[in-house]
């Protein structure tokens, strides 16, 4: 048996030159297929195109009122909070999870920042730090339940959503801290509400934070080992584990980061609404998930780009503002956004299906 290696060599030697292209015979591609293939290569391309199209359409419909630097940057401002929570949501969804508690973590963190400052007289800067820590802790609780107790993320965050929200109401005693008071005693809380102008365009620091966060995360996901591990965990957790990824650590880090980002969103929220109100952000979950979904990240994990999420949030922002300016009944807006979700994902699916 062991003497047969020589003969085998011969066969292999002759086989090699011809056996090169088993799976890749060339073929002519139609233009359509080439477009699909291109779109498939860049996961954020579809939402980006939809975004540009919708800006153009509303621009044509509404004219200069919409197509002004003021209105366009207004969209950015309106989208900032959704964009930030959607960034957190994207991370979690990339690991094949879902975080229903983003809104609750956001509002509870903002309430903690406010109450720490005003109830206990802690300096605002420290209170903010504590609030960010609290958000992280809430995220870690989610992460530990998911990673170590191996509970499904949907269920864990369905539970903690209710828990954090109830805790938020109980702790805050439903008290709102008024904007005027904050302005006077703890302006740092409103930092992200400050704005600067470039021409007619108005940017708040909240918008800047959103952009920095999204591009920073995009870099981390693409260019660092941690990012590759996030994708691997979402793709196939068991396989990632076997090929040497510390899946538990990755999961906890993702949920913790999600909590931290939501706490940041809470801080931005104070800046945006001026006051600290325990009843804000009730729709943040749905809005964040909607942005992620329209942005083309797969709910099954491991596929998609956080830049897509940014586009998704902006698309919703453009539609909302555009339809509002057009004077559409709000219910029609909801109806159209419902359709937008389905259509966006259907296009995405079509691209994936045809060009593998």
């Amino acid at each position: 048996m062991t003497t047969s290696a020589d003969e085998a060599e011969n066969i292999d030697a002759t086989a090699a030159p011809q056996a090169e292209a088993v799976a890749e015979f060339d073929q002519q591609h139609s233009t359509l297929q080439r477009v699909q293939h291109f779109l498939h290569q860049i996961p954020a391309a579809v939402p980006l195109i939809v975004l540009v199209l919708s800006i153009i359409v509303f621009g044509l419909l509404l004219g200069s009122k919409f197509f002004s630097p003021f209105a366009l940057t207004l969209i950015l401002q309106q989208v900032a909070i959704v964009g930030i929570t959607a960034a957190a949501q994207s991370l979690v969804i990339l690991t094949a999870g879902i975080d229903l508690s983003v809104g609750a973590m956001m509002v509870f963190s903002s309430v903690l920042m406010g109450q720490f400052t005003f109830r206990y007289g802690i300096p605002a800067e420290i209170a903010i730090g504590l609030g960010l820590m609290a958000g992280t802790v809430m995220g870690v609780i989610n992460g530990v339940l998911v990673a170590f107790m191996r509970l499904p993320p949907f269920i864990v965050t369905l539970g903690t959503w209710q828990i954090y929200l109830a805790a938020n109401y109980l702790y805050s005693a439903n008290e709102t801290i008024r904007a005027q008071e904050i302005e006077e005693h703890a302006a740092a809380l409103q930092f992200f509400g400050l704005s600067f102008r470039i021409g007619g365009a108005v940017f708040t620091y909240g918008v800047v934070l959103m952009l920095v966060l999204v591009f920073g995360l995009a870099y981390a996901l693409r260019q660092t080992a941690w990012g590759r591990h996030v994708y691997a965990v979402g793709d196939d957790k068991d396989a990632a584990e076997l090929s040497g990824v510390q899946t538990k650590r990755v999961l906890v880090s993702v949920y913790a980061l999600s909590g931290l980002i939501c706490a940041l969103a809470g801080w931005v929220l104070i800046g945006r609404i001026g006051s600290v109100s325990p009843t804000s952000g009730q729709l943040a979950n749905i809005e964040a998930i909607t942005a992620v979904v329209i942005g083309g990240i797969s709910l099954f994990g491991g596929r998609g780009s956080i830049l897509g999420t940014l586009c998704g949030a902006l698309i919703v922002g453009v539609f909302s503002l555009g339809l509002r300016m057009a004077g559409t009944d709000p219910q029609w807006t909801y109806l159209l956004i419902g359709m937008l979700i389905i259509v966006a994902v259907a296009i995405d699916q079509w691209i994936r299906k045809v060009s593998v």
Binding site: Q77, I81, A179, S277, R324
Partner: protein, 318 residues
């Protein structure tokens, strides 16, 4: 010309009949005056973010005036300030802002008074039995929005129960209160809350409800155990189904508000302001323009002013 005058109506939701009616009133008046009105609303009660976005849209849109029923009365203040800085007249409808002078004017019902009226009526109706009444309090939501708190506390004051913190419901320790439960202001919530409290004490004989849909739900719960005849239900709102329910004996008395008036007056004020810059003035002795509240009941009692069901039907909305 009047066509150039843009106005915005921003309500808490566009699903609650109260706001639907408000929108109808505003739309009718706007058409009459040739004002270009756009309406916005939150998706759910408490959806503050959508209201902020709506104000920003109005600013971008170059509107002359905004009519606002705020979901979050103090948080909205900075957005309102932005609008006022942009030269827009902001009128708070139904719900005063916190502080009240954050808006240029407030056209509202006195919700505390509305509660007080039904409280007094219920106490008078029971007479001596009021001393050992068993009261169920069906409130709006756990986040205790101000409107709900004002009505609740007004009712208790009117009934003669000592209040705890008047900015909060549920902290009273009067033994006559069987309990508080939340209804979300709809029938399903009203029925469930009533059932829950009945399970706690089946002998409840006074039911305060945040609004008439909740009252209708509570009535169903009472009917299911056959006690609908010997329990007094009081409510606030004065919508047509609610007043009809007073006529049918479902609700004993309700405090009627006038959302159509609020909205129509608001639109007129905007037209006025656009024409010559005059600001609307508050009712004498109050810091807001009181659009009035009236107790509607088929069984008037001494010491509490009320209007009849027929009068209520003429004035009702929804």
């Amino acid at each position: 010309a009047a066509q150039d005058i843009g106005a915005c109506l921003i309500t808490k939701t566009d699903t609650n009949p109260f706001f639907v009616k408000m929108k109808e009133g505003a739309t009718a008046k706007a058409e009459e005056l040739g004002i270009n009105l756009k309406s916005y609303a939150g998706k759910i009660d408490g959806d503050h973010e959508s209201q902020v976005a709506a104000i920003e849209t109005c600013i971008a849109d170059g509107a002359k005036g905004i009519l606002l029923t705020a979901s979050d009365t103090s948080s909205i203040v900075s957005s309102v300030q932005q609008a006022r800085d942009a030269g827009i007249l902001v009128i708070a409808l139904d719900t005063p802002l916190n502080p009240i002078d954050a808006a240029d004017a407030t056209f509202a019902t006195d919700n505390f008074l509305a509660g007080e009226l039904i409280g007094k009526w219920a106490a008078a109706k029971l007479g001596d039995d009021a001393a050992d009444a068993k009261i169920a309090m069906l409130d709006l939501g756990v986040s205790q929005p101000t409107v709900g708190v004002l009505r609740d506390q007004g009712f208790l004051q009117g009934f003669g129960i000592e209040l705890g913190d008047p900015n909060k419901w549920g902290d009273e320790d009067d033994p006559r209160i069987v309990g508080n439960d939340v209804t979300a202001g709809n029938e399903e919530g009203g029925r469930r809350a009533m059932e829950n409290l009945l399970a706690k004490d089946p002998m409840i004989n006074v039911v305060y409800t945040i609004n008439e849909p909740a009252a209708a739900g509570a009535y169903e719960a009472l009917k299911a155990i056959g006690r609908e005849e010997d329990v007094i239900i009081v409510s606030v709102d004065g919508g047509c189904p609610g007043v009809q329910n007073v006529a049918d004996g479902v609700i004993g008395a309700t405090s009627q508000q006038y959302p159509l008036d609020m909205a129509a007056l608001g639109i007129e004020a905007i037209a006025q302001y656009a024409a010559d810059g005059t600001l609307p003035q508050p009712t004498e002795g109050k810091d807001f323009f009181d659009t009035g509240v009236a107790l509607v009941t088929g069984e008037p009692v001494d010491g509490v002013d009320s209007i009849t069901v027929e009068e209520g039907m003429d004035l009702c909305w929804g």
